[in-house]
Amino acid sequence: MLSAESLAKIDREVAKYPADQKRSATMSALRIAQQEKGWLATETIEFVANYLGIPPVAAYEVATFYNMYDLKPVGKHKLTVCTNLPCALSGGYDAADYLKQKLGIDFGETSADGRFTLVEGECMGACGDAPVMLLNNHSMCSFMTREAIDKKLAELE
């Protein structure tokens, strides 16, 4: 259900915790599964739970509580733009509005070609680099002026 590479990554996470506390690796295991699959289907969450030897409902609770897990399919590139106050004071809403206009979608939507999903984010702890945009959960893009957005999107296939 998950590749050998993903399983090896999960094993590395499990090794960080005491032998009787495998449950602590749930968050990373779900993250690694989501990286491979693009999103977390119920079967994927159950697979992760069984792999860690925890009740599926425990993994499900984690997947629903933290907002970087995607429980529905998202576009090939998920763009999360921070609009919290500190970013807003340095162009957060301009970046968001520009992306909405350029991609023709609103927050929470995916472009018709399935390439982009746009998400409104909260503070990412990077306000000094405002406006900031998180690409596919793992890559922080700083100083997202219109030109920087154009350049970034052109780089993505």
Partner: protein, 431 residues
């Protein structure tokens, strides 16, 4: 983004050098000398804690609790497992200092956490890292590998009887996990919902074992205190407010960034270091300690010095040291509405006053902003707030109420104007 070093955390760190975070660079700056000193000179646990007390180091995560005192609460001689946990879940809007510690000086944190393990008799530590900063998480893991290879982590460190393991845990998007007991739940692989206190983590923490939780910047300040002495650290700042501190300056300034300055530095100086007001606009308001701290009008801020006591006296909190600067073009109703939305989104929902109250606050401010406010709305905000603050499991409810109380106190006329005339007093421009 600017990083200004004048103190201890970024002293001598060339942030333009891509290898400045590596162990060789850290050791060239005198890194790991504190740990060596403790283990080779046989400095006792009590002496380490006494040095921290002398330094007057106060927690850099928000509450400003004296670190030496906190460490002394740990039952050091308790025979079972004990844990040291670092809070790098930096999600308080406006705060971005801990990320830079991981980026530019991660070994200072690692060394501080090892010393914490030694002083409190813990054999294991975890650093909980904010979900949105994956690159920093990976870098921290690399730094941990370096420290293991160098023999600073693992069995019998530097030939002593002290053994210690340290690992990184990656969050995945929940502001509430910055609250220390929610963080512990999350480390255990559960939903990040705060626990009732007492019991406090020092007696019932991670996996039910004695645990001490500190902020990234707090731990990273420890090596300096050991090598240079608590007295010297104290003298960098002012009495009861020892040391230098990182201030994350954001908003309408010319050079947003992290500024490491002695506690007690006048706000006016910090503002100048950050390049002054962008576009020469007039300073209107400042949130001096992260979004949960009460807002202060610019003229009051200009009279303050940047330390716990001065900011508290002015009616706010130094909090995490996140300084959010706003100019005259900001409609305060709109600014508050964005913050209220945040707290509503991030309430974990366990306590009715917080779950319902944050929603109420947001909806009432939202309708005032949209010209649908009612004459009784300001009183309503007050009474909703009174039913939340101090009546919940954790301080998120208070954190949601402080901005509402302070915005409606200091900028009341803007709220009244909107309610009465249905249009804002200030022609709002974000930037």
């Amino acid at each position: 983004m600017a990083v200004f070093a004048n103190g201890i955390l970024f002293e001598g760190v060339d942030t333009s050098d891509p290898n400045c975070w590596k162990i060789e660079a850290y050791q060239a700056r005198g890194g790991y000398q504190a740990l060596k000193k403790i283990l080779t000179e046989g400095i006792s646990q009590d002496d380490v804690i006494a040095e921290l007390k002398t330094s007057s180091l106060r927690g850099r995560g928000g509450a400003g609790f004296p670190t030496g005192l906190k460490w002394s609460f740990m039952p050091r001689s308790f025979p079972g497992d004990k844990y040291v946990v670092c809070n790098t879940d930096e999600g308080e809007p406006g705060t971005f200092k801990d990320r830079d510690i991981l980026r530019f000086n991660p070994h200072a944190l690692i060394e501080g956490m090892i010393i914490a393990g030694y002083a409190m008799g813990a054999a294991r530590g975890y650093n909980y890292i904010h979900g949105e900063i994956f690159a920093e998480y990976e870098r921290f893991e690399e730094a941990l590998d370096e420290a293991r290879r160098a023999g600073f982590l693992g069995q019998n460190i530097l030939g002593s009887t002290f053994s210690y393991e340290l690992f990184a845990h990656h969050g995945y998007g929940a502001y509430i996990c910055g609250e220390e007991t929610a963080l512990l739940e999350s480390l255990e692989g559960k939903k990040g919902q705060p626990r009732f206190k007492p019991p406090f983590p020092a007696s019932f923490g991670l996996y039910g074992k004695p645990t001490t939780i500190n902020n990234t910047e707090t731990f990273a300040s420890v090596p300096y205190i050991i090598t240079q002495g608590g007295q010297k650290f104290l003298e960098l700042g002012k009495p009861n407010n020892g040391g230098t501190k990182l201030f994350s300056v954001s908003g309408h300034v010319n050079r947003p960034g992290n500024y490491e300055i002695p506690l007690g530095t006048p706000f006016a100086e910090l503002l100048e270091m950050a390049g002054g007001m962008r576009g020469g606009k007039k300073l209107k308001a400042v949130i001096p300690g992260g979004s949960s701290a009460p807002v202060l009008p610019g003229d009051i801020m200009m009279q303050c010095t940047m330390d716990y006591d001065s900011i508290a006296k002015a009616g706010s909190m130094l909090g995490s040291g996140a300084v959010i600067v706003m100019n005259e073009d900001v409609c305060m109703v709109r600014a508050l509405e964005r913050l209220a939305y945040f707290y509503h989104e991030e309430s974990c929902g366990q306590c009715t006053p917080c779950r319902e109250g944050t929603g109420w606050l947001y909806r009432v401010i939202h309708r005032i902003l949209n010209g649908e406010g009612r004459p009784e709305d300001l009183e309503l905000l007050d009474s909703v707030g009174n039913n939340m603050a101090g009546r919940t499991i954790c301080a998120l409810a208070d954190a949601a109420v402080f901005p509402v109380r302070s915005f409606t106190k200091h900028f009341r006329h803007e709220f009244e104007h909107l309610i009465e005339h249905k249009t804002p007093l200030v022609n709002h421009k974000w930037c």
